[in-house]
Subunit: 660 residues, 2 copies
């Protein structure tokens, strides 16, 4: 490992805002680009963050701020994680040391942070819709600024981006779409559109025919033709070229003017491209080809690895090859355990297939893809398609498993209801990043329990540790007759060790379990006199609750239950607890309070439970309050939302004290 | 009004299943098509149903069943409401008298009804995803049937259909897409794709260039050219034609083979088209041009009106013009009231804009579009785009109102969270068809309360009657600082009369109200001794609960509250009621029990409420149980789910009896 010698950043130091860029020469902008790259690599080596995508848009960002005027002109950054350069140029350079840290700079764009951020972004494919809405508003309010959507080729695979382009082609509003084409979303890009754009770059279209026309021309040279005929031949060539050589014929046919492809790292060419279309009143797409990780060789070589990076040791030099240092074994995450379980169960389940909407890397599923390439489907950023395709697969006899982040599952709620649940199809959902994540408001996986629980036919599970996740995957694939969601957090898996096998722990062998049967983990059901309160903990909160109970200094020892199924509830156990005289239940979940697991217990207590105990048992839900949760380390966010062991202990202590 | 003379249906009578079609001559198929049309018109005049779309697909359906073999071959009908002909040909003709009636034939496709229905459908744009999934399954299982998606040009505007086509182009599975292009979804179609397909039909592409090439050829005739040059010229023409004359160049570029456009009412041409591609192993789209309402003049003339029809008096003859009889005034629906309120408030709110995802007719919003065409945006079947576009509009200073059916809002839940709620933008959602609808499982609007309530920053309202809906719209547009959802059922608006003005009632003037303040409508807060139970009714259930209370013969007179806001709750009133000693609350809502309004009250009672009363108050939610609700008249479905006045009265009586 090396340390980067601090290079001078005299150009960057002189930038206080986008205005300075207007005066700079192209040569100086190029030097500035170099300084920015260095600053990004150096800064992210300390904080972590989205490296490769930001290195890819340095020149595009410089050109945007050179040609357009934010905040008057509105730039909508799709996804928003590639806006670091934009942030540096709009007064936030000095905050980069706090990137993605609690109360620090957000990893995405947000108007809360700067007036130069026209909107919030975190999920993909929203920018064109936002731009269309803002352009309509601009025209309605008789303003005259420019609205610009910067979208990647990955974002363009998302259905809503295509909806928006289709609509824009119809209403012909003045919107500039900057297509940042690096042939890659988080994972490799998928789809006919991706192939098509690849072919654009190979100028597939016109080449043959042009060669043949040239050849005809050559032959005709030898014979006597009237001037009129020559004019006509030239006209044909021109028209053919104009009409069919347009690499962006698909966009043109949808009503969007196209220019490109242009080298997105040639700052002069990009500036020219923007200048030449900036006064257009019709919708325009400028197609720029970029290289993710540009200028930092390790990231150029493996842009997937460097998509989002934790703080990393700095490689010696920009553009300089380095030996990859031997990777240290890392503690297994729940994502790892999930994938390994799938790989293992796939051995004797030949009809198991795995589906991911462009999150093969983050979810670890890329490993499944290597083990079973023919049973692995990365459908690009298409959550809706992923879920309905899985429904079709299940109906036709396969055993589909959809690996999807909780926050992205929000994109496919209708498909979950309409295509999976109505026919009660056995689709298994691995709901990754269920709970709080460091990325902030846009990525919190807090709604899945409430959403999925309200859908008939669903089983909603969450494991307490690695071994249980493995058992749940095994059981769901083997035995489920309807849809099953298994949610787990973005964290190291409890019970899995860095050097352990991928099973989560050495001893864990997958078992068929009844995941709808809850387990009493500790505490005695009966106390002398008054019955102790019962803590019903769901998923990742089981272990935190266990630790919380250890902190409590009280003679009352609450009963701790691993409530591994939020739907159905284990009503037999609840019945039993009520009949034994327990009258206080504390639910703990890493999800929104509204409608979550706690609400499920409340609903049951208010009807069936009431029948048994004749008075309404007390149910005290501990969950994430009704607010969006900012970015920062998961441990901080859990504490902030009352879900650290200390906060849970305080809360339970208060309940016990009040009660006695 | 005339009655149709019963025409002989000898061909149709002979059909017991698709097999018979294989033997018939084209002439006989044409006669059969006529008989089917007559039967559809005649049958729907009694039961109501989707008329125009079914008349449009008679020949396509005949050709599909002639060329392919269901149930082995799998036909995925997008939306599914155009599958009546398919149903007639697959053994369900005799059940048409029960169409869309309780326990009768479904208005959509469903495998529960027939093995010839390969999947359930009700929402648009799912068929290609299902087909891709089923084709993958077929190949994996080494089967050899055909998978066919029948999708309309409207369905093709939906983002998920575009996602699926994009993916299909990439993986090159054997899927046949039958594009039924009638230039119309429920409302007029929107989008660059629609314009593009229009241009396809005008053979815009190759015409000019071909004329010019012909002209050059003509001139060259006069000069001496070698044979080789002529060959070359012909080759150029051929290649140009092959490559650029393809009307489906957009599809071709995405990797889907294209053939068409073909007259979709020429049964012989359609059969030929299917025959010629049925053995292709690559993805194929066949583009058929059809006329909605074909063969029934009133429906051809106004296919929007005849999209879905209630039982209607039969016009005299197929293909014969009739005078439109004077329309009778109909009782205003909540949709009518909502639209009229928007029109009225738009007068002095110049920045109000209205958005609909292809439901302008059903939602009544077409009237707004006529009053304010420049402030009206029908974005086609693009719920995701609609919501995010509205977010962009709100951010940029407009006051967007999204009119959307509850069931279709499911398509845009991520956009609601990520694009509207995080920035707390003042977007008003008119959530139409909130509650039970006659269409069945796919269309029940029962999840919106639970979903929206869990999203931070949202206000979730439901009016008890027409005047209150009007007030809510007025107030939300004028005063809301964040997102507001106003949900109402598909029904006649209470308080609106057939001959009343569109305000809902003669006396109603829109008022600014505090919709988060609940109203006590009847009952006395304090009783002698024990306090009476409090009925907290939400939206359409207020009036049903009022009627229910009238049925109850008890000395205990429950308090009836119009709980018009499910979020936020009126905690002041709840506080007051608890302090007064009320300890039993009954919530009534037309939404799912899980996480709904009742759960909201439970959640509050379990924490804040408990603080006040020291024992957990009893909350008994009356809501739709955890199951999908079949089709049938709303009144029947309400009763079936415990939400008729009789069932509510029974439930409340039981609670009162048990308590005393």
């Amino acid at each position: 490992m090396h340390t980067l010698t601090k290079q001078p950043t005299s150009f960057l130091d002189a930038i206080t805002g986008p205005a300075e860029l207007k005066q700079m020469s192209v040569e100086d902008l190029q030097k500035l680009a170099g300084e920015i790259r260095q600053e990004i690599v150096s800064s992210l080596s300390r904080t972590g963050g989205h490296l490769a995508s930001n290195l890819g848009v340095v020149e595009i960002t410089l050109a945007l701020h050179r040609v357009f005027n934010t905040p008057k002109d509105q730039i909508l950054w799709d996804v928003g994680h590639q806006a670091y350069v934009h942030k540096m140029l709009t007064g936030r350079r000095h905050k980069f040391g706090t990137l993605r840290q609690f109360k620090g700079l957000s990893g995405f764009v947000t108007p809360v942070e700067s007036e130069h951020d026209a909107f919030v972004a975190g999920h993909s494919s929203t920018s064109v819709s936002l731009a269309v809405g803002m352009a309509i508003a601009r025209d309605h309010l008789k303003l005259d600024h420019k609205v610009i959507a910067v979208i990647g080729d990955g974002g363009l695979t998302g259905g809503m981006a295509l909806e928006a382009i289709n609509h824009l082609g119809h209403i012909q509003k003045n919107v500039l779409i900057v297509l940042n084409d690096n042939e890659m979303s988080i994972s490799e890009n998928t789809g006919g559109l991706a192939l098509y754009m690849k072919r654009i770059k190979e100028t597939f279209f016109y080449r043959d025919i042009k060669e043949k026309l040239d050849s005809i021309e050559g032959s005709l040279d030898k014979v006597q033709l009237t001037a009129g005929i020559w004019d006509m031949i030239l006209e044909v060539k021109k028209q053919a070229k104009e009409r069919f050589d347009t690499p962006g014929i698909v966009f043109e046919k949808l009503g969007i003017n196209y220019s490109g492809p242009i080298d997105g790292h040639d700052v002069s060419a990009v500036i020219k491209a923007f200048e030449s279309v900036k006064d257009n009143s019709a919708p325009q797409i400028v197609h720029l080809i970029t290289c993710k990780g540009k200028g930092y060789q390790p990231a150029e070589d493996d842009s997937i690895k460097y998509h989002g990076v934790p703080a990393f040791s700095l490689e010696p030099q920009l553009s300089e090859k380095v030996d990859a240092s031997a990777p240290k074994p890392k503690a297994k995450t729940y994502s790892d355990i999930f994938t390994q379980a799938l790989i293992d169960v796939a051995k004797d389940e030949p009809n198991l297939v795995a589906i991911t909407p462009a999150t093969a890397e983050g979810s670890g599923l890329v490993k499944f893809g290597k083990a079973y390439p023919e049973r692995f489907f990365d459908v690009a950023i298409c959550e809706q398609h992923a879920v309905t395709m899985a429904a079709g697969m299940a109906k036709a006899g396969l055993k589909p498993v959809v690996s999807i982040y909780s926050t992205f599952l929000q994109r496919a709620m209708d498909q979950v209801i309409h295509d999976v649940a109505i026919l009660n199809l056995p689709v298994v959902f691995g709901v990754d990043r269920g709970g709080l994540v460091e990325d902030g408001e846009t990525h919190q996986g807090v709604f899945d329990i409430a959403f999925l629980r309200s859908v008939p036919n669903f089983t909603v599970l969450a494991p307490k540790d690695a071994a249980e996740l493995r058992d749940m995957v095994f059981t769901a694939v083997k035995e489920s007759k309807g849809p099953v969601a298994i949610r787990f957090p973005r964290d190291k898996a409890i019970g899995a060790t860095a050097d352990g096998d991928a099973n989560g722990s050495h001893s864990s062998k997958p078992r068929l379990i009844d995941p709808t049967k809850w387990e009493i983990l500790s505490g005695e059901k009966s106390n002398n006199g008054q019955k102790p309160p019962v803590v019903l903990a769901f998923g990742a909160m089981v272990d935190v609750s266990r630790q919380a109970l250890e902190l409590i200094e009280s003679e009352v020892k609450p009963v701790l239950v691993n409530a591994r199924s939020a739907k159905p509830l284990d009503v037999n156990l609840l019945n039993e607890l009520l009949r034994d005289g327990h009258d206080t239940f504390i639910t703990v979940e890493e999800g929104c309070l509204s409608g979550g697991f706690g609400a499920a217990v409340l609903e049951w207590m208010s009807t069936a439970g009431l029948e048994i105990s004749n008075t309404m048992p007390r149910v005290l839900p501990i969950a994430i309050p009704d607010q969006f949760v900012e970015h920062g380390a998961r441990a901080i966010l859990l504490d902030l939302n009352g879900l650290s062991k200390e906060k849970i202990a305080q809360r339970i202590t208060k309940i016990i004290t009040k009660r006695t």
